[in-house]
């Protein structure tokens, strides 16, 4: 295994230097990355922060010469050990990739070859760059798996990617990247697709490996919490340019740019909470259960149920925000759908203003549809692309028979659009002309159009960039003050809870493991799972 080993660079030496990197669109020539320069040092994590479309991922791909065909490197250089990578032939470049500079990607599930065992995939890197073969090769891969913390590495060698959890997949990616002991590791949003508790573990692993192997790490992320926990140095990218660069301590204490300040402000302030609101209950859930049948055998009989929601009881008061927190698959969205009567419940009671609404038929439910509305996670799929914004907002008013004349409807649509800080003229446009943040405002306007008393917000901000997220949350809070509407706010992100919710419930595997006021949960969590979630929340 010696060939892969070479003398480790001394801490702090420059391992990769980017100078004046410029990337343009191949067909129009428009610049995506404009003259970016930075250097990566051994044993240090350099974080490149920015929102989607800022050019941070393009920068990292350009450094590896892995850009898609539509993009072109049109200037600058990337030096690794005195060699300009842009001057190398493709064959020489293949020797650099994986050997000197390695990369891990955002979504490990799709970044791994689905039909090859993970062991083979890691072994392939070693086969390409070393002479290890046979049993020695397998041994080395198993050792790598052990190093990145994969349990039972011998068995896991023969697993396919889909048989591993998300965190383990990302660990495999890291093992693959580290196999040939590269000097430089580029990590492109390595934790974005993971649940928060797993995120922390993976980041800690990267952090440890940086120290133990004296790696020079380029960490691409949009999450300031990740930066704060992991990085030594940080650079902010905005519309293709590096607008600020500083050590992590300096950056968080004295940001130079207003944009940087905004990014930092998106971090939660775990000292201020909302007081509990009035106690007149609007929505009461008692032991609500939603079960999905599992069918097996010759006749596809129902042998068991997936207990997506397994006996949840909670109460939401008028004008109150209840944050339902949990990781993916915890059943929180299913619960939201059950309240909307879009999912049949297997047991329990749902009371709205004291009246039982579970299991109502389509027509019996209609009066309640006016009062319970919903905002979905993905703004792009929650609007029919073939309808104008005006028609989209009008739909509920028409189908729920609000009895407005066409004129009155139009006025109401314009008023609503203005209320969510869009122009009245936007009513005639189509959804694809808007950004994600704008679409989410339209979704809010659509829900408000029928004067609801309760809005179920199913992760309404998780598809949005951090700075826009804050604006949407602020808008929701304003509307609550103005109209006295209640929210059931479903989220995986505990960090947005403080300024938002009066009460918090934590869900795990279909059960509500803990609930209480926001302050209780965030300052004195009782359940170990809540504690784990909280530990993963970045702090200022």
């Amino acid at each position: 295994m010696s060939e892969a080993q070479h003398s480790r660079p001394a801490p702090g030496t420059v391992c990769l230097q980017v100078r004046d990197l410029t990337v343009t669109l191949a067909d129009t020539g428009a610049a995506i990355v404009k003259g970016v320069s930075f250097e990566l040092r051994a044993g240090k994590v350099f974080a490149l922060v920015g929102e989607s479309g800022s050019g941070k991922s393009v920068t990292s791909l350009a450094a590896m010469r892995l850009l898609p065909d539509a993009l072109r490197i049109s200037g600058g250089s990337v030096d690794v050990a005195g060699q300009d990578l842009f001057g190398l032939s493709e064959a020489r470049m293949q020797e650099v990739r994986g050997r000197r500079v390695a990369m891990i990607f955002q979504n490990a599930m799709s970044a791994l070859n689905p039909v090859q065992t993970v062991g083979k995939q890691v072994a392939e890197t070693l086969q390409l760059h070393t002479r290890l073969r046979g049993a020695a090769l397998r041994e080395r891969v198993v050792a790598l798996f052990r190093e990145v913390g994969i349990p039972d590495p011998e068995q896991r060698f023969d697993f396919f990617p889909h048989q591993l959890s998300g965190g383990q997949q990302q660990r495999v990616m890291i093992a693959m990247a580290l196999a040939c002991e590269p000097d430089v590791l580029i990590a492109d949003e390595p934790t974005t697709a993971l649940d928060v508790t797993i995120q922390l573990q993976v980041l800690n692993l990267i952090r440890e490996l940086t120290r133990s192997r004296q790696l020079a790490v380029l960490l691409i992320t949009h999450d300031m919490g990740v930066v704060k926990n992991t990085a030594d140095e940080v650079a902010v990218m905005y519309r293709g340019e590096l607008i600020e660069r500083a050590s992590v301590e300096d950056f968080f204490q004295h940001p130079q740019q207003a944009y940087s300040q905004r990014l930092i402000d998106a971090l939660p302030d775990l000292t201020q909470f909302r007081e509990a609101a009035a106690e007149a209950p609007l929505l009461e859930l008692q032991e609500v259960k939603v079960h999905f049948p599992i069918r097996r055998g010759l006749l596809q009989r129902v042998v068991d149920y997936t207990r997506a929601v397994d006996g949840v009881s909670l109460t939401i008061g008028r004008g109150e925000t209840y944050a339902l927190v949990g990781e993916s698959g915890s059943g929180k969205s299913t619960l939201g759908r059950a309240v909307l009567n879009l999912e049949a419940i297997a047991g329990g009671q749902i009371r709205f203003r004291g009246e039982a609404i579970e299991g109502l038929g389509r027509n019996a439910m209609l009066p309640y549809r006016k009062q319970i509305q919903v905002i979905f996670q993905n703004p792009f799929s929650s609007m029919n692309p073939r309808m104008t914004v005006g028609d989209i907002i009008a739909e509920g008013m028409i189908s729920l028979g609000l009895g407005l004349s066409e004129e009155a409807r139009r006025e109401r649509i314009q008023a609503l659009l203005q209320r969510v800080q869009l122009g009245a003229e936007h009513a005639n446009r189509y959804p694809h002309e808007f950004s994600g943040g704008q679409l989410q405002r339209i979704a809010i306007a659509r829900a408000l159009a029928v004067d609801p008393e309760l809005i179920i917000c199913d992760e309404p901000t998780s598809a949005l960039d951090v700075s826009i997220r804050a604006e949407v949350l602020e808008l929701l809070a304003e509307l609550q003050r103005e109209f006295g509407v209640s929210y059931l706010f479903i989220t995986h992100d505990l960090s947005i809870v403080p300024g938002l919710a009066h009460k918090v419930g934590v869900m795990q595997r279909g059960k509500l493991v803990e609930q209480g006021t926001a302050e209780q949960i965030l300052t004195a969590p009782a359940h170990p799972y809540t504690q784990e979630l909280l530990a993963a929340v970045p702090r200022l």
């Binding site: 990739r97 990607f105 070859n113 689905p114 039909v115 392939e124 006749l299």
Partner: protein
């Protein structure tokens, strides 16, 4: 897995019953046996006696579904539906309208069909994959665009012209092989070369274009970028990563056809005079022998259902993510 297969086989039963009912409706309800007799006998002999005679000779003189004159089980079994349709389930195809035993015919004629169809199928897939891989290697270049245009042009030529052109060039002008015919003794391959060649060439346009799309779809996946970041060469990415993944959709499209290879190809067999099931069907259509058509519909449906089952099973073999339950 076993339960899955059994369940699929059980599911095949209602489908076959549906096929049966549909063909029965087509052949006996839309057109009554009287109509068929009249049209089979031609204009001259259409007397009521002639029709009755014909019906009796061919076994169409019974009631459709329920025979109230018969006793006991005979009420159901002594009917046209039972005679002509239900018996198919026991693979009892009966006699054709010209009096031949259909089961024997099918058993002897399926082998020549297979002798042509199987090589065409295998060579075709091989050639198409190779051509598509070559084109994918040059993706995004002019060569790629040119190749796609050629594929589309090849697709736009009628199958008939491939056959006619092949016979004209290879057999007539160059005199390399006989134009048509089939003998089981001696050099069988001489009669097989041209039909197989024509079949393969005719399939290149559509096949290679489809495979190219599949390969390109895989080439845009994230794991290809990962492989590149490892330092894999483009060639090894193509063969070690893209090809195994693209095999999955290729399998779904292709495995379903395997059992149907027994049915042969109508056009190839009739042009090249191969005594297989394809030409058998064509002859039946031309002589309006509905007994044969009905039997072949049934056989074809069974083979298709077996193909679907094979497809599912091949999935588990090619794609570790799929488990049948």
């Amino acid at each position: 897995m076993f339960a899955y297969i059994v369940r699929r086989l059980l599911y095949a039963i209602p489908i076959l019953i549906g096929v049966n009912l549909l063909t029965f409706t087509l052949f006996f309800v839309v057109n009554s046996p009287d109509d068929m007799a009249a049209s089979q006998l031609g204009d001259k002999y259409v007397t009521p006696e002639a029709i009755a005679n014909w019906k009796q000779k061919n076994g169409y003189d019974k009631p459709l579904f329920l025979n109230s004159q018969a006793a006991g089980v005979g009420q159901v079994t002594d009917t046209i539906f039972f005679d002509k349709s239900v018996r198919l389930f026991a693979f009892d195809f009966g006699r054709s309208e010209s009096g031949r035993d259909i089961t024997t015919d099918v058993a002897t004629r399926m082998w020549p069909s297979l002798a042509v169809a199987l090589p065409t199928f295998l060579v075709g897939i091989g050639v198409n994959i190779c051509v598509a891989l070559m084109v994918v290697m040059f993706r995004g270049t002019r060569l790629d665009r040119g190749a796609v245009f050629v594929f589309v042009a090849l697709m736009s030529i009628s199958y008939l012209f491939y056959i006619i052109g092949g016979q004209f060039l290879v057999a007539k002008t160059w005199r390399l092989v006989p134009i048509s015919g089939f003998h089981t003794e001696g050099q069988v391959w001489k009669f097989l070369v041209l039909p197989v060649l024509v079949g393969v060439v005719a399939g290149i346009g559509a096949g290679a274009r489809w495979y190219r799309t599949l390969f390109l779809e895989e080439a845009n996946q994230d794991y290809v970028r990962t492989a590149r970041a490892k330092g894999c060469s483009e060639l090894s990415i193509l063969f070690r990563h893209i090809l195994p993944n693209a095999l999955i959709p290729i399998l779904t499209g292709v495995v379903v056809l395997i059992p149907s290879l027994f049915m042969g190809s109508l056009l190839i067999e009739s042009f090249f005079g191969i005594p297989g099931l394809g030409s058998y069907m064509l002859d039946a259509i031309n002589s309006q022998d509905f007994a044969i058509v009905r039997s072949m519909v049934f056989i074809g449906s069974i083979l298709y259902i077996v193909g679907l089952l094979l497809t599912d099973i091949s999935y588990t073999w090619a794609d570790p993510r799929v488990r049948l339950s």
